[in-house]
């Protein structure tokens, strides 16, 4: 592999990144090769292992950055975090079947999570509405419904927490490769 092939491979694997992030990373590694000099080109390639290896680390870092962004935009960046964690898994130098298996597990967990959270939200709304309607008719049901809504809220928060932990573990795993 030559330096140009390496950089081209890296660019290919970073195509999902925002343009400025990708340009920045490529510039760093282009400069890295320049500094090492042509006589050390093969040493650098050997040390960097592969474009996939380098790309996985950059994507994992970006994924982490997205997950850590401010609370105001948490949901949007949370999804970006998941997405880039997935991209990092596929860029990581692990066997393709393993990557596909991990990727499918993550995608299914996200789908299941979204569906369950949506169901809980709908149930929560229904409970709130029926509680308000029955406040004078059936006070006991009103109290029960408020309790149930709080439990649902807690479960949703717990699930979101579990998600962010899962992404964190994936990021650490890829950075450790």
């Amino acid at each position: 592999m030559t330096r140009d092939e390496f950089l081209f491979g890296l660019e290919q694997r970073l195509h999902a990144l925002p343009r400025d992030e990708r340009v920045e990373a490529l510039r760093y590694y282009r400069e890295y090769f320049d500094e090492a000099g042509t006589e050390h080109e093969q040493d650098v390639i050997r040390e960097l292992k592969s474009p996939a290896h380098v790309a996985a680390k950059i994507l994992a870092e970006y994924s982490q950055k997205q997950t850590n962004l401010s609370a105001a935009t948490r949901v949007k960046h949370g999804f970006r975090g998941i997405w880039f964690a997935l991209l990092a898994i596929f860029a990581a130098p692990i066997a393709i079947p393993v990557a596909i298996a991990i990727g499918i597990v993550v995608i299914l967990m996200v789908i299941v999570g979204v569906v369950v959270i949506f169901a809980f939200i709908v149930a929560g709304f229904a409970l709130v509405v029926s509680a308000v309607l029955s406040i004078f008719v059936r006070p006991a049901f009103f109290v029960f419904a408020i309790g149930a809504v709080l439990v649902i809220y807690a479960v949703i928060r717990l699930m979101l927490l579990a998600f962010s932990k899962m992404i964190f573990v994936i990021q650490k795993f890829i950075q450790g490769l």
Partner: protein, 105 residues
């Protein structure tokens, strides 16, 4: 080495090295590698993170007809370095206490 370096500690080391002298990607990697066993692809994400957190800034300098990107520690980075030194001293004290055995449990 028996003990491995985690990303927080690596960040602290990079800041401390850059505090003594501005440096660029390749040289910094070689300097850190000479001291700590890291892979050559480890440093870019670390530098990027420190930059995003405002602890590092960069500037370009022309070398042999191309640009070389230098990393320099910001004022916030210097304050951060100071916190690292204090925290490390406290951490070291705990571990020393356990190893030498004069810690009261």
């Amino acid at each position: 080495m028996l003990f491995s370096i985690n990303s927080g500690l690596l960040e602290a080391c990079v800041l401390a090295i850059l505090k003594t002298e501005d440096s660029y990607g390749y040289k910094l990697t070689q300097d850190v590698k000479a001291l700590i066993p890291i892979s050559e692809s480890t440093l870019y994400p670390v530098l990027r993170r420190l930059q995003a957190e405002g602890f590092l800034q960069t500037y370009d300098r022309a070398i042999d007809g191309r640009m070389r990107k230098y990393y320099a520690v910001t004022n916030a980075g210097k304050i951060r370095c100071h916190e690292h030194v204090t925290e490390w001293a406290a951490f070291k004290k705990i571990i020393d206490g356990i190893f030498i055995g004069d810690t009261e449990l």
